[in-house]
């Protein structure tokens, strides 16, 4: 009976550990750090993710004693389950604001096209500045969350330069995405240029944790606009769920391919 924990007890330890992490992080609460232009916001979700990584059996060997491989696998399944009440709560903020959402409708729909901004910024950096090869196509065509990664896997296979680029951005985004999306929006708001509704509706990029970080940061700096921030972010996130894959498939990926062929005409024949 000693030695490796069974599947059930391994699962129990996992949930208890998560509960402990959650309690610690919520006790610390939201912290603010004022820097010149704006405010850097630290959210409990950031601490929770960081603590999770620190206690991850792949990093912290002692954890492996009570968190089996199965428990880590269960933890992966629990992400999609545990984010659901959050997504549901987010949805309930839309209903009461529905008239304001319809009012902002054109901007809300068209900002989905703005997600192509990744090609505008990341593609030149990858191809011209960092001299990356075809990895750049997979890396920069989208934010590379699960559906986008699946598209690359389907089209090129992950056993390809494009696949390696997409997976690299996926893994990096998983590690630092929450952090970037918690820090960036309050700083952009600090510039004083953009409508807070624009900042809110851009939070929906198709990742639950990035959505949480982005709206959490914005609400912390503009608390009196909380209701409309949540509602617009939720609405845009649903739009991204619905359109993201198709924009990637029919617009972003062909466009990135075309740009790459223009930028590196010499590679065209071998590609």
């Amino acid at each position: 009976m000693t030695g490796k924990p069974g599947a059930a007890t391994g699962g129990l330890y996992l949930h208890i550990l998560v509960l402990a992490i959650v309690i610690v992080c919520e006790l610390i609460g939201i912290q603010r750090l004022s820097i010149g232009l704006g405010t850097v916001i630290f959210l409990p979700i950031l601490y929770a993710f960081a603590l999770g990584i620190l206690l991850n059996p792949a990093i912290f060997k002692a954890s492996a004693k009570f968190l089996s491989k199965d428990a880590v696998k269960l933890s992966g399944a629990m992400i999609t389950v545990a984010i659901m009440p959050f997504i549901a709560k987010f949805g309930t903020t839309v209903g009461p604001q529905i008239s304001k959402i319809i009012e902002a409708g054109p901007a809300l729909v068209l900002q989905e096209i703005g997600n192509l901004g990744t090609i505008l910024i990341a593609f030149p950096v990858a191809v011209f500045l960092l001299k990356m090869g075809r990895e750049a196509v997979g890396a920069t065509y989208s934010i590379d969350r699960e559906p986008n990664l699946a598209l690359i896997a389907d089209k090129y296979g992950l056993n390809s330069p494009e696949g390696a680029g997409a997976m690299g951005v996926y893994a990096t985004g998983t590690l630092i995405g929450t952090f970037v999306f918690a820090i960036m929006p309050p700083l952009v708001h600090g510039l004083g240029i953009f409508d807070v509704r624009a900042l809110a509706m851009s939070c929906g990029v198709g990742s639950g944790s990035m959505l949480a970080a982005c709206t959490g940061g914005l609400v912390a700096v503009v608390p009196d606009q909380k209701d409309i921030i949540l509602a617009l972010a939720a609405a845009s996130n649903i739009l991204t769920y619905a359109t993201g894959l198709y924009v990637g498939m029919f617009v972003a990926l062909p466009l990135t391919e075309w740009l790459y062929n223009k930028a590196r005409p010499s590679e065209r024949k071998t590609a």
């Binding site: 989208s142 896997a153 949480a212 982005c214």
Partner: protein, 171 residues
């Protein structure tokens, strides 16, 4: 180089690529897991906001039911839409003014802080990372980190600029 991409592809075996297939989810098992998630969510909300779990319970029960119905739709509806999209749509529908019970639902879920509900998912997320994911991030190197940051800034700022433009035009 060929060798390297080969290994990277092997590392990809346990990436959540197949999470998309929600046609085969085990609804009964998910009902149980979701119950655990909601319980931890109630405690997160309690610690974070001071709202007693008893006060927040009706709101959480509503969210729980919305999630189960969303999962059921993703499982049984003949066209594909991710369960999170179904859950969102249901949650929107039951809070639109005029829909029976909408005011009650809005009042109940008001006891739940949205950010506290995301904390458990991120804790699971940190613990769920596999050695492969750390290895991919390490192997991809600093160039990918820079590109990933540019990707995130570009995706966000592109949307901000377009949204801001059309909000101004609409005024």
């Amino acid at each position: 180089m060929a060798n390297q991409t080969n290994t990277t592809a092997n590392l990809a075996d346990d990436l959540p690529l197949h999470a998309e297939d929600e046609r085969k989810i085990d609804l009964v098992r998910h009902c149980g897991l979701l119950l655990i998630a909601c319980a931890i969510g109630l405690i997160a909300n309690w610690v974070g906001t001071g709202t007693s779990p008893l006060v927040a319970l009706p709101g959480m029960a509503v969210l729980y039911v919305a999630c189960i119905i969303g999962l059921g739709f993703a499982r049984f509806v003949p066209f594909y839409l991710p369960s999170v999209a179904w859950v969102s749509l249901i949650a929107i529908l039951i809070t639109i003014p005029g829909v029976p019970g909408a005011a009650w639902v809005s009042e109940q879920v008001e006891h739940l802080n949205f950010l506290a509900l995301a904390t458990p998912a991120l804790a699971y997320g940190g613990l769920a990372l596999t050695a492969s994911e750390f290895a991919i991030a390490r192997r991809s190197g600093w160039k990918i980190v820079i590109v990933a940051i540019c990707v995130m800034i570009g995706t966000y700022m592109g949307s901000v600029v377009v949204a801001d433009l059309f909000l101004r035009l609409g005024q």
